[in-house]
């Protein structure tokens, strides 16, 4: 090849430390036909994926902007036959914020603690392995299953103070509290994974230096390791938020189907958390032809807002985990591994 391309003799291999320069453009003219077809298919799928992504965003943009009105953000949903009178999605937006906040508030400390235990202590080993596989299993369990398990737990009589009781003493089991706890379980694997990845990257000499200065393990985790991996903790939290915001099954089963947020009792904040309501996802579901509402315009508008929130979170994660260097092969692999582990869409 080298002899055919130029007259000058090139060294057979670049010297040590000299990067290998690959030709910028592929030459496929010498390839057999079947290989060229494969190469073409690769390009086609790459472009097709881009096209699908652009189509989704454009479609939602056109539909969403078309039906979005400022009044939708401040009006509560109202039961109505005509779409014009069905109100807006003020309650669902508040619901989304409450639920995400509650879920992360529970999941973040628990996740960081479990990750710290798994990476820094992990004794006895068998127990650590069991906890590891439990976390992996949560990642694979369908969220509907988590949701109906949650319903079973929170309709126990003892936990009645977290939702509402019927006149005959039966516990309803559906509330923001219940959904928040189950959402925390859903977000846990993402936070644990992200924090552990960070802890694994902290070089051992940092730990050794801390011990040499007389710090205990606990103090080393608190004052050396956690500050060092702050970006990982942050990206784990944002990934968890994305997962919570995008989930529908847990909301429809554990918060219920009322579109307005209804408080229970008179205590202001606790009452809201004990009550039922809706989030953007359940609002979209209920108003789609699959639910009962049949108000597709509202569903489009709410779905657009939802998509924008999710994309914003996505951009934040990219920002947190990106290095300004161009993507090298190794960095690229690491990044892909991170995306693979964290897919926020899994409902």
């Amino acid at each position: 090849m080298a002899a055919a391309e130029g007259t000058e003799l090139r060294p057979l291999a670049p010297g040590p430390g000299v990067p290998v320069v690959r030709p910028r453009r592929q030459r496929t003219s010498s390839w057999p036909l079947i290989d060229r077809i494969g190469y073409g298919l690769c390009w086609a799928t790459g472009l097709a994926l881009c096209a699908i992504a652009i189509a989704i965003v454009l479609y939602m943009l056109v539909k969403g902007i078309g039906y979005l009105k400022p009044s939708l953000f401040v009006e509560s949903p109202a039961p109505a036959v005509k779409q014009d009178e069905a109100g807006g999605f003020f309650d669902p937006i508040i619901g989304t914020f409450i639920l995400t906040g509650l879920g992360i508030l529970i999941a973040a400390p628990v996740g960081v603690a479990i990750a710290a235990w798994l990476s820094e202590y992990a004794r006895p080993r068998a127990l650590a392995r069991a906890v590891e596989s439990a976390i992996e299993m949560i990642g694979g369990v369908p969220s509907v299953v988590l949701a109906i398990f949650g319903l079973l737990v929170f309709s126990q009589g003892v936990l009645g103070f977290l939702s509402q009781r019927a006149a005959n003493g039966a516990v309803y089991g559906r509330s923001f509290f219940a959904a928040g706890v189950i959402m925390a379980v859903l977000a846990l694997p993402l936070i644990v994974g992200s924090v552990r990845e960070g802890l694994a990257q902290v070089p051992d000499h940092m730990r050794e230096a801390a011990y040499a200065l007389g710090k205990t393990r606990a103090s080393c985790i608190r004052h050396v390791l956690l500050p060092a991996i702050r970006p990982n903790v942050a990206s784990g939290i944002v990934l968890g938020m994305g997962r919570i915001i995008g989930d529908t099954a847990i909301v429809t089963i554990l918060i219920g189907v009322t579109l307005q947020n209804e408080a229970v009792g008179n205590v202001p904040i606790i009452g809201n958390l004990r009550g039922t309501g809706s989030t953007l996802t359940s609002y979209v579901y209920t108003n789609s032809p699959a639910g009962e509402g049949g108000a597709p315009q509202k569903a489009y508008a709410a779905a657009f807002v939802l998509l924008m929130i999710v994309l914003l979170l996505n951009a934040i994660v990219t920002r947190l985990s990106s290095d300004t260097k161009p993507l090298g092969r190794a960095a690229f692999a690491g990044r892909l591994r991170m995306i693979g582990r964290s897919l926020p869409w899994t409902q």
Partner: protein, 323 residues
């Protein structure tokens, strides 16, 4: 001395939290099984078999009036299981082809600007919530299929058993494939990228062109990771509920492959979607037992797939590849 004791206390507290999580998961498996047991024990192995209209059986449970000649627990889940199998397998096969090609493109052929575009594109496809996919499916794709791909003759040909309206197997499969493609692309290209570069360069140096090098060296080395990615994606597809509840037609019907092309346009309803659509009836004991039995099936499948994914990746350890 005091600090050592604090340290031990911290270790115990963190450990206790981890154990609590373990207990929670254990409790989940046990309670879901216990709650669903009544449904399994009454129907025996025929629970998994075919027999009658599953929607009618569920409706009978909802109204708490048993079907004539049957106990209130009478339930044959085959149409739902079949729906799950068909949607999952078709979507995974479709996604496997697309994502292998895309992963090769991403790691080997894509020029740098293209690679920088594809990275956020894959993130975006992964980040879109399933309810948004479902909304696009039910409001855009299903009506289009209904008016352009399903002829009236085709509707009439199966009109005596089901109605075809565009919310069907084909729509569900295509959208499900789009939803699981990102995870597969991410995992497969991570595996391709971590094949030792020297193996790759060795093949190139022997005069093999880059396409063959990828197929013969990289893909072959990464095969366990590709299998693991497929298994993981299968688990995700199996658990998808909301999108499928919206676009799969919502009818407990075992689509018949013998119908030829019409098969693709027949409605189905997978297991997870069934749970969502019947969640209102969880206060009715008979229906609740049946729904928890369905959940138990999903739970076992998820656990088995998670184990299979772990087992599939083991051969890679031999090469010291972390994927």
């Amino acid at each position: 001395m005091k600090t050592v004791r604090t340290d031990q206390r911290v270790e115990r507290m963190l450990g206790a939290l981890a154990v609590a999580l373990l207990v929670l998961i254990g409790a989940m498996v046990v309670t879901v099984f216990l709650k669903g047991w009544a449904s399994f024990s009454h129907n025996g192995l025929s629970w998994f078999g075919p027999g009658g209209d599953v929607d009618e059986q569920l409706r009978a449970m909802q109204q708490a009036t048993p079907l004539p000649g049957h106990s209130p627990y009478y339930f044959r889940a085959w149409p739902l299981i079949w729906g799950t199998l068909v949607t999952t397998v078709l979507a995974v096969v479709l996604a496997l082809i697309v994502s292998t090609l895309a992963a090769i493109f991403l790691t080997e052929f894509a020029p740098a600007p293209m690679r920088r575009t594809l990275d956020p594109v894959i993130r975006l496809l992964a980040a879109v919530p399933s309810v948004v996919y479902g909304l696009i499916g039910i409001l855009a794709i299903a009506p289009w299929i209904n008016s352009n791909l399903i002829s009236n003759g085709r509707k009439a040909s199966v009109g005596y058993v089901v109605q075809l309206n565009g919310a069907d197997l084909a729509t569900a499969t295509v959208i499900l494939a789009v939803m699981i493609t990102p995870i597969m692309v991410a995992l497969i290209s991570a595996a391709l990228a971590s094949v030792p570069p020297s193996w790759h360069e060795g093949s190139i140096a022997l005069g093999v062109n880059r396409w063959r090098t990828i197929v013969r060296v990289s893909l072959r080395t990464a095969r366990p990771a590709i299998i693991a990615a497929t298994v993981l994606a299968t688990a995700r597809a199996l658990g998808e509920a909301i999108m499928l509840a919206m676009v799969s037609g919502g009818r407990g019907f075992a689509a018949n492959p013998l119908d030829g092309i019409t098969f693709l346009f027949e409605p189905v309803r997978p297991l997870a979607a069934t749970i969502v659509q019947n969640s209102e009836g969880l206060t009715i004991p008979v229906l609740a037992h049946t729904i928890y039995a369905i959940a138990a099936v999903l739970l076992v499948s998820a656990a088995l797939l998670s184990f299979a994914g772990w087992a599939a990746k083991q051969p890679l350890k031999r090469y010291g590849i972390r994927a």
